[in-house]
Symmetry: C7
Subunit: 75 residues, 7 copies
């Protein structure tokens, strides 16, 4: 993982991020932790795959190999 | 696996967790063990993929590469 | 593989286990051997994917990367 | 690969085995060789995917990562 | 990663690139960073999968194993 | 790769082989080279996926991870 | 990667090659660079998946794990 990726993730610790997973699932949650495989810990997570019917997931661990992209919200 | 992931999983040993697998299967079971690949041991597990027709699986070993996310229940 | 996983598999050597594979196949057989990749040796195996039409497979070797979960039968 | 897997495959060298591949293909052939990745050499192989229309493949090399399970025929 | 790949990516730092992902998703964004796995950092990113309905993603991290191809825009 | 696999491939250098790929594509070509990942070099290759409409590919390099099986023609 | 694969690719530097990707996409472009993972740099690339509606991609980097086969044009 490049230093820039680490920096961006560190700058967003405690902030809301959007995560797109393989298979089409979308998550929105507060980034609590990550490692070099992009394993993520998110809290206050919502499954936003179906934007008209989001579901509360709360605290979750995401296995990094499922991650397609991570997006901090616009500033 | 980050230390935080390990901490969260350790704090939830003996507690009910929700596990989402690749391919769409959902499990709910008591976390009995895990390793750094996210191989999991769950007991009293239900297959909750079809929420209207859950199936008892009891004690299971989950191969970690199938895991999408792990979620402790809300406190 | 965690020590617990090894312990559970060792305790179930010689016993019937259920194995779910990627792609949806289900097997039921007597656990004769395993290794750290979850490569399995089963005997008296039935393919139970279609529960109304099980098929006898007898002694089989399962390549571990196909395994989703392994479940000893309820005690 | 566990010693037992090696033993079973060695005991079946020169014998007919059934091989199920990812994607649903089924093969039946005489086991001539194997390695620790479950790369297989089979001879007199038939593609038995469609049991009503088997096709002769003769001598083949199977790349191990396609293998789901290997089954010696019942004794 | 070949030196040429690194050179091309470095020459395009700060420029708009097109990225095609596995599963068919297309992105267009300003290349801000990359590493040897082709993990990418893009900013001002648009999801251009549906060209008639692009969506703003802003700053994103793309996990490299999803990347099919990266294309600097024509000069 | 087992010594036997290497031997079979070496014995078939310069001969026509059939290659089945993941995703269902079938190739028929003259084996010109290979390595331990089953990366293949074939010449005079035909894409024989649709047997009623084969297509000439000529000299090709096949990335080994796509290979399901390789079959020398019957002697 | 075998020496032969390297030789063929080196002999085709600066020449038009055809590249088939997983998922069915076809590319035609001038080979500008490659490495041992079959990561490719192509220029003047056309997406030739739909032969009746090719699309200009120009200079691209292809991540090697998407490559099925590479074919120099007939001489």
């Amino acid at each position: 993982m490049s230093e820039m990726t680490t920096d961006i993730l560190e700058q967003n610790l405690g902030k809301i991020v959007l995560v797109r997973l393989k298979g089409g699932k979308s998550l929105r949650g507060r980034l609590k932790g990550f490692d070099q495989h992009l394993n993520l810990v998110l809290e206050e997570t919502d499954d936003t795959t179906n934007i008209e019917n989001t579901r509360k997931l709360g605290l979750i661990i995401v296995r990094g190999d499922n991650v397609v992209l991570i997006s901090p919200p616009p500033r």
